[in-house]
Amino acid sequence: MIRQILTFTLLFLFLIALQVLVLNNIQLGGYLNPYLYVLFVLLLPFDTPKWLLLIVAFALGFGVDLFSSTMGMHTMAIVFMAFLRLGVLKLIAPRDGYDASQKPGLQDFDFRWFLTYASILTFAHHFLLFFIEVFRFSDFFFTFSKVITSSGFTILLLLVSQLFNYNAQAKR
């Protein structure tokens, strides 16, 4: 338990640093803005209390906002995503439900499950984020195309990140 908290704290700090120091500088043609920090909310254990989930998401978004001087934008988007996570998990749950020993990720689940899980939440997060950023629905399709491309890029990065601690032998 302690080890888990420590791991997630480090991950929390690492993802914020990665986001504000590296990924915020990647803006290919104004379309591709990857937001990899959503990984943190995706990876939280299944038995995380609901309220803690929201608070952690809030803190994460606040941290990113603090360093990108976009007060409230990322916070709103990531809290919304954390809220959706419960419903999405319920929606794509395996027939026998989740095991407390399982972690959401490629290690314990198949590729299709993880892709669905990550795609829905990432898309929701990016959709809210980009529309808060422009704050209007005119030029809807321009903004929407940014949402699509950036989501695709983020999802790609999410999949790559899963390979870091992927152990083929341990795969069930």
């Binding site: 309220w51 409230g72 919304f80 808060i132």
Partner: protein, 280 residues
């Protein structure tokens, strides 16, 4: 109450979510000027269009009053235009000198009305008693004598020009001692007559007529006219000299009002002397 608490506990997670989103929204609108202004704009757009609709209907009832207000405002603005103002105090200039005492001061003025075609012609200047103009003062132009101030109001003065049948300016031929008077016969505004020049004077065509300075109105030596014809009438002691006035009275615009600082002293002395004559 129980239902309310039940509702709250049942939806506590959702309410907590809304609470956090509310904080985020607060942060968003507090710290990002763009989102705040957009939010205010869009919320104003709804109420704004409603008020516009109401205003469109009600403004017709106020049209008469609005027209009146606009007309009053127009008049007020027109009054403030520089074109509807005059300079009250002009640029007076006085030269201090220890060797020569200043005898004449000059005040520049602008002709705002003039005639040349009447038998008695006057011009109006834009300076009056506020600028120190008094009746009896002389008025000269850049090229000679214009006339004498006849009446003065606070901001204007009326000048009897040389082109007046009663005008009589003390004059003399340049480089000669004989005194005469420049008068006008009321015919051609370009020509005047020099009278009272005795026949023994040596007058030539083209001679310059200047002011004598004896009248205490004008300084001495101001060019007035040039001689164009000389007649020696039979049985008279004086020439009939026709002179061409240097001033073109149709074109005068900038003039100077001449104030003789010592005039009062001179007039008083002369009056005393005459009084002495009468008493004898």
């Amino acid at each position: 109450m129980r239902n309310l608490l039940g509702f709250l506990s049942r939806n506590s997670f959702f309410l907590f979510f809304l609470f956090l989103e509310g904080i985020a929204a607060l942060l968003l609108f507090q710290n990002n000027r763009f989102q705040r202004s957009e939010f205010l704009n869009s919320s104003n757009a709804a109420s704004g269009s409603f008020y516009q609709l109401v205003n469109n209907a009600t403004m017709y009832f106020d049209l008469a009053e609005i027209n009146e207000q606009l007309a009053a405002e127009n008049a007020d603005l027109r009054r403030q235009l520089t074109g509807s103002k005059i300079e009250i105090f002009g640029k007076n200039f006085i030269i201090n000198d220890t060797v020569y005492q200043q005898a004449y001061n000059f005040t520049e003025a602008t002709v705002i009305n003039s005639t040349v075609s009447k038998a008695n012609n006057y011009i109006t200047l834009n300076k009056g008693s506020f600028a120190g103009v008094e009746a009896g003062m002389g008025v000269i132009g850049p090229q000679g004598i214009i006339g004498i101030v006849k009446t003065v109001s606070t901001r204007f003065s009326s000048v009897m020009t040389v082109l007046h049948t009663q005008s009589k300016v003390s004059a003399k031929l340049k480089d000669q001692r004989y005194l005469g008077s420049l008068v006008w016969d009321g015919k051609d505004y370009q020509y005047g007559q020099l009278i009272d020049i005795p026949k023994n004077a040596n007058v030539m065509l083209g001679d310059t007529v200047i002011s004598s300075g004896y009248s205490s109105i004008f300084p001495t030596g101001i060019n007035l006219a040039t001689v164009t014809s000389i007649e020696k009438p039979e049985g008279k002691n004086f020439y009939d000299i026709t002179v061409k006035l240097i001033n073109d009275f149709k074109k005068i615009e900038k003039v100077y009002v001449v104030k003789n600082v010592l005039r009062e002293e001179q007039d008083k002395l002369e009056a005393e002397a005459q009084e002495g004559d009468n008493n004898d």
